[in-house]
């Protein structure tokens, strides 16, 4: 179960996600981000209420990061401790723009 709330502020789009970003919900997140990429210069994904991220969720972030790297930024904000650990363990903290 994942709730995605999208807020657009000019060229900046904020996604607030709540719940679990796993194999079942990753396609939904991927679709939401993919629709936004052509029009947004800055995408922020707010992880404040995210409980869990699986490798499928990480794949969505990696994909979005690669797509945004050519002329935009992707930032993950409000990352809690367990998810920070996941980012660190998988090495994604070195690729993704977190904070």
């Amino acid at each position: 179960m994942l709730n995605i709330t999208k807020t657009v502020e000019g060229e900046k789009t904020v996604f607030s996600v709540e719940g679990r970003l796993d194999t079942n919900t990753a396609p939904e997140m991927e679709k939401a981000i993919r629709e936004t990429i052509p029009e947004a210069r800055e995408i922020v994904i707010d992880f404040e209420k995210l409980d869990y991220i699986s490798s499928a969720g990480l794949r969505v972030l990696l994909s979005a990061h690669k797509a945004m790297s050519s002329g935009g930024t992707l930032r993950i904000s409000n990352v809690n401790q367990p998810i920070t650990e996941i980012f660190e363990v998988t090495g994604f903290s070195e690729i993704l723009n977190i904070g």
């Binding site: 194999t23 794949r59 363990v89 998988t90």
Partner: protein, 559 residues
């Protein structure tokens, strides 16, 4: 008993054909009754009109016999000769005309309440009556208001004639008409009224056969119509409906398309119903065919998946103990994909006599894409490892090769270690995988927070760092995928790394096979049957050292 008794009624209620025939018979009976009544009334009216006209003519003719100017003279006893003559004429007229009574009265015009008889000729033979002629001058009350109104109409309104009907037999007197005409004086005024009472014997005589005719005709019509409608409804309603119903039952039983009902009835609704049944059968058969095809397709995919699963299982060592001739180490591993095939994998193999490669990995995503990605990664690592080099070098090579063709943005977390079996030196590198768990001889299992690189496939050109660990005889290494700590119970709580370490330490001296079984059992107990979405893969390695070269089984414990 009572049930048996009710059966015919029940049948009548439920049998459509009988119902319809019953309704028709009932309708025709009502129709026949109404027709009879209407026929009776019009017959009677026609008869009455006919009688009235004829009787008027008889009466009108009779008035010619009477001299209107002499009425008062007759009553007062004058002109007795003429009176007798006239009386005689009227008597014979009465006989000749077959009427019951011919009488002339002078009505009291003040209120028409009584009248005085002038002439009265009776013929009792005509209608088998027993009237006694009134004497001239006999005064009598007007019979009733109907007569009073008729008298008044003749005296005051100039009516040509009036008729009173008695169509029913009452008081022993048969149906008759009484027609009254004015007897006029020479000035044209009404001097008296001449009445003729004539029996309507023909009416009652003709009415009975008429009624019988109507009733018999109606009954015959009812019977004929019933037979006709019974046959009509039978062939167009009951039989077609039974055909449709039988066909539907047959189809439900056999699920095979019939010959088609075609045109079964002239009723559109039943024709439509039959057409619907035909169409339903065609559609249903097509649907069943589709379903069979789809099921066959599903079975084919299922078979392919099962083959793929076997291929994947056999692409990694899955026979234990894997190295029964080696006593210097023991390794045990398990892989349980959440679906038929998975993205998790482990592998271990001897690069040469003295070097054992150990690895565990977790591809992002699940199912066939993850499995394909896993196969590629596994082959790349195995091939590259046999060419020599450290764990970090191997991972860098594999990362580069995967990134070159990674259009799906997939990645794999990998832990790769190479153990020098001569001295227990482990050289490992971690590409974004879970921390390994280590246990020194005599110690407890502890999480080893090793140096981390990025998951393989995430970014090209990444450098990984090797680290070394000195294993001693009795040292154990446990690596796993996130399926273990992230196993979830029905309340959505995760198993967690702490509980995993706790489980490992519940039996620190267990050999690799028991370690894995123990963890698996504990995880299963934790999730309590909640569906698991992640693959679950574990590998446990125990270093035993070179000091004991006997041919022990691999799964035996070190001393």
């Amino acid at each position: 008993m009572s049930k048996k008794k009710r059966d015919p009624i029940g049948r009548f209620r439920s049998d459509m054909g009988l119902n319809i025939i019953g309704a028709i018979v009932l309708l025709l009976i009502v129709f026949g009754a109404v027709a009879s009544v209407i026929g009776y009334i019009s017959f009677t009216n026609a008869f009455k009109r006919e009688y009235s006209t004829t009787t008027y003519h008889i009466a009108d003719t009779a008035t010619a016999l009477i001299v209107g100017d002499h009425i008062d003279d007759y009553l007062e006893g004058r002109e007795t000769g003429e009176y007798e003559l006239t009386k005689g004429s009227l008597d014979s007229y009465c006989d000749r005309m077959n009427v019951s009574i011919v009488y002339v009265i002078k009505v009291d015009r003040s209120d028409y309440g009584h009248f005085t008889s002038v002439f009265n000729s009776v013929n009792n033979t005509v209608d088998n009556t027993s009237y006694t002629p009134w004497e001239p001058g006999y005064v009598r009350e007007t019979t009733n208001d109907e007569y009073r109104d008729k008298y008044k109409a003749i005296y005051e309104d100039g009516s040509e004639y009036e008729t009173v009907y008695r169509t029913k037999t009452s008081g022993g007197i048969n149906p008759h008409v009484t027609t009254m005409v004015p007897v006029k004086d020479s000035a044209g005024g009404v001097a008296a009224i001449l009445c003729i009472q004539r029996p309507m014997r023909e009416l009652s005589e003709a009415r009975r056969p008429y009624l019988i005719n109507v009733a018999v005709s109606a009954a015959a019509l009812a019977a004929l119509s019933s037979v006709f409608y019974a046959l009509f409804f039978r062939s167009n309603l009951a039989v077609p409906l039974k055909k449709v119903s039988d066909e539907a039952n047959r189809f439900a039983r056999e699920n095979v398309k019939g010959e088609g009902l075609g045109h079964v009835s002239r009723f559109k609704e039943i024709g439509d119903l039959a057409a619907s049944i035909d169409k339903m059968e065609t559609d249903m058969v097509a649907y069943i065919d589709n379903l069979t095809t789809a099921t066959a397709e599903k079975e084919r995919i299922s078979l392919e998946l099962s083959l793929a699963s076997t291929i994947q299982e056999n692409s990694i060592p899955n026979i234990f103990p894997p190295f029964p001739e080696r006593s210097d180490f023991d390794v045990y591993a398990s892989m349980d994909p959440a679906r038929e095939v998975g993205g998790d994998f482990y592998n271990f193999f001897l690069i040469d006599e003295d070097h054992l490669a150990l690895m565990i990995g977790d591809v992002s995503g699940k199912g066939i894409p993850a499995a394909l990605f896993m196969m590629v990664t596994n082959i790349l690592i195995t091939d590259r490892a046999h060419m020599g080099g450290t764990s970090a070098e191997i991972l860098e090579f594999v990362n580069h090769n995967i990134c070159e063709h990674n259009t799906a943005d997939m990645f794999v977390t990998l832990w790769l270690g190479i153990v020098d079996l001569r001295n227990g030196m482990l050289t490992a590198a971690n590409a974004g995988h879970e921390y390994p768990v280590l246990k020194d001889p005599g110690g407890v299992y502890e999480l080893f927070r090793d140096k981390h690189g990025i998951a393989v496939g995430a970014m090209d050109g990444v450098k990984y760092k090797d680290y070394t660990l000195q294993l001693r005889p009795g040292s154990k290494l446990f690596v796993y995928t996130d399926g273990v700590p992230e196993a979830t119970d029905p309340e959505n709580r995760m198993f967690g790394v702490e509980k995993m370490i706790e489980t490992l330490n519940s039996d620190p001296d267990a050999d690799p096979r028991d370690v894995l079984n123990n963890v698996r059992r504990t995880v299963d107990g934790f999730v309590k049957g909640a569906e698991q979405f992640d693959d679950l893969t574990m590998l446990c390695f125990e270093y035993r050292g070179q000091d004991d070269k006997t041919d022990c089984k691999g799964d035996e414990k070190d001393e």
